[in-house]
């Protein structure tokens, strides 16, 4: 990917993230990244209805990579089913782990295709998905 374009996408999502700010609504499921990182602190909340992500929001203080990845994640996962999101996550994980992956499925997330070169930042790039995984787990445990 062209480095200039990549930078532009990341900075744009970092400075103008989608759906930043939490709301008070207990029909949402919530997860925080504190367990995975000592420094990036992002809370994600999502409303899942009939197996579909109807809304995803976040708030917190985090680095450019984590914040932009959260914004891109929200952009790509809104209105998707839990299965579609899980599929996206699996592909994304493959990319970060330098395994073979289907580029066309990842959309804007390919801006992080070179992140494996900085191992300490790989965690930042996956951080929002850790929260989403927790949310999906909660959803499934509720048996809905």
């Amino acid at each position: 990917m062209d480095p200039e374009l990549r930078r532009e996408i990341i900075v744009d999502h970092y400075q103008n993230p989608i759906n930043k700010g939490l709301i008070i609504d207990d029909t949402y499921l919530k997860a925080n990244t504190n367990n995975e990182s000592c420094i990036d602190n992002i809370t994600v909340m999502a409303k899942i209805e009939d197996g579909r992500f109807m809304d995803i929001r976040f708030d917190g203080e985090a680095c450019a990579i984590s914040t932009s990845a959260t914004s891109i994640m929200i952009h790509l996962c809104l209105n998707k089913t839990v299965e579609e999101v899980e599929e996206l996550m699996a592909e994304y994980e493959k990319m970060l782990n330098e395994e073979e992956y289907q580029q066309e499925k990842l959309n804007e997330l390919i801006v992080y295709e070179d992140i494996y070169k900085q191992p300490n930042r790989k965690k930042c790039a996956f951080l929002p998905f850790d929260s989403l995984k927790k949310i999906i787990k909660q959803y499934k445990e509720r048996g809905q």
Partner: protein, 398 residues
């Protein structure tokens, strides 16, 4: 100063993360090598020459620590695995049996996790009460503020001599006198002070002091617990096993060795202790006063030069330890650290394990520059040149 003694500095990098750990001079590494390559043996065990040499070298380090922190008796020096280990031993070996429900322990919100979490465990275990000494607007501890929170239930004050985020030096001598007057145990976390400035436990009436070797040019995995002899004699071991008992029977009758050996169960980090001894020799030769003055000079120079960069926010301009906590305006601290790393400058970003300091600083994460004796003004000049390019930060880190 003394850069030629540090082989690692031949590499082209700038190390400003001395609050986390320090670089090692060749003489310390040589001392470890010497033990491993020429006279390896266990301590306190054998009757052969090498074992006796190990014993002598190991015990000799207690005396060196005594010279460093100015206590009287080498038996007051216990070797541990680090500051965290020492603080845990104080909390669970001494305080747990001596405190009771409702007794109050005073901390501050600027403390490192290792001086907060053991106490919070005691809150759960025996119902002590943890209270926080209010900090001034410069995040300092004053006698007036301590006096405000002391009650008749206050039994312990446990604070860092120098804090690891703000780098402020607490008035331990005055606090020690206050503790003596009020019959309060005085516990000091010396992880950021013993390596950087003169510490005098006798003069400051410190009951317990904890510090780590690796933050003072020594090896990792070794720490020191100092305790007044009469208190150590009342402290209970928290680890049990070889080396610390003098006799035991199958029916459970056990006799422990005397202080300090009863606290050093198992084979201790022998090479590490010997390396610590070498590091102490090295530091005392330079003089702790000189080290402190030099670091302060570096800090003042850095503060002066940072004024050339308009988007820098410094959080601790008034503290007198060799630490500068800062952020670039509107840049997350980790991004700044990654940016500086691109120019081979090592700084720490985050909350530095002082997670409740955010209540006081109103900011959770900072970049921290922490100096040591081998840092130079030229390195600061290079840092400033790099920070002047920080408007290009995303171009450089993304």
């Amino acid at each position: 100063m003394n850069r030629e003694d540090f082989p690692i500095l031949k590499n082209d990098f700038i190390y400003f993360d001395n609050g986390a750990t320090t670089l090692k001079p060749k003489c310390v590494v040589d001392a470890l090598d010497d033990y491993y390559l020429t006279y390896t043996a266990n301590a306190h065990r054998g009757d052969y020459d090498n074992s006796q040499k190990v014993d002598m070298m190991y015990e000799e380090v207690r005396k060196k620590v005594t010279q460093l922190i100015h206590n009287q008796d080498p038996r007051e020096i216990v070797f541990t695995y680090g500051t965290t280990d020492s603080l845990n031993m104080i909390t669970f070996g001494f305080m747990e049996p001596h405190l009771k429900k409702g007794d109050e322990v005073l901390l501050t919100k600027a403390e490192h996790a290792s001086n907060v979490l053991p106490w919070l465990e005691l809150v759960k275990k025996i119902g002590i009460v943890v209270r926080y000494i209010p900090l001034t607007s410069d995040n300092q501890v004053t006698i007036e503020n301590i006096e405000k929170v002391i009650t008749q239930n206050t039994k312990v004050i446990s604070i860092a001599h120098v804090t690891n985020v703000i780098g402020d030096i607490r008035p331990v001598k005055e606090i020690g006198a206050l503790c003596k007057k009020n019959n309060i145990y005085f516990v000091v976390d010396g992880a950021q002070s013993v390596p950087h400035l003169p510490v005098n436990v006798d003069e400051s009436n410190i009951d317990f002091l904890a510090f780590s070797a690796h933050k003072m040019l020594g090896p990792t995995g070794v720490g020191v617990l100092y305790g007044k002899l009469d208190l150590l004699e009342k402290m209970k071991p928290t680890r049990f096993g070889g080396g610390m008992n003098s006799d035991f029977e199958a029916d459970g009758i056990v006799e422990y060795k005397s202080v300090p050996t009863c606290f050093e169960a198992g084979t201790p980090p022998i090479a590490g202790v010997i390396g610590l001894g070498k590091a102490i020799d090295y530091l005392l030769k330079i003089g702790m006063d000189n080290i402190h003055k030099y670091e302060l000079e570096l800090k003042e120079y850095l503060l002066l030069r940072l004024k050339e960069i308009p988007n820098v926010i410094v959080y601790n301009p008034k503290s007198t330890g060799g630490i500068v906590a800062f952020n670039l305006d509107k840049v997350f601290s980790q991004d700044t650290a990654v940016f500086l790393n691109q120019f081979s400058i090592c700084v720490r970003a985050g909350n530095h394990c002082a997670k409740i300091l955010k209540d006081e600083l109103k900011i959770k994460n900072t970049c921290r520059i922490s100096f040591y004796l081998y840092n130079t003004k030229e390195e600061i000049d290079r840092l400033i040149d790099v920070l002047k390019k920080s408007d290009q930060i995303f171009k450089i880190i993304l």
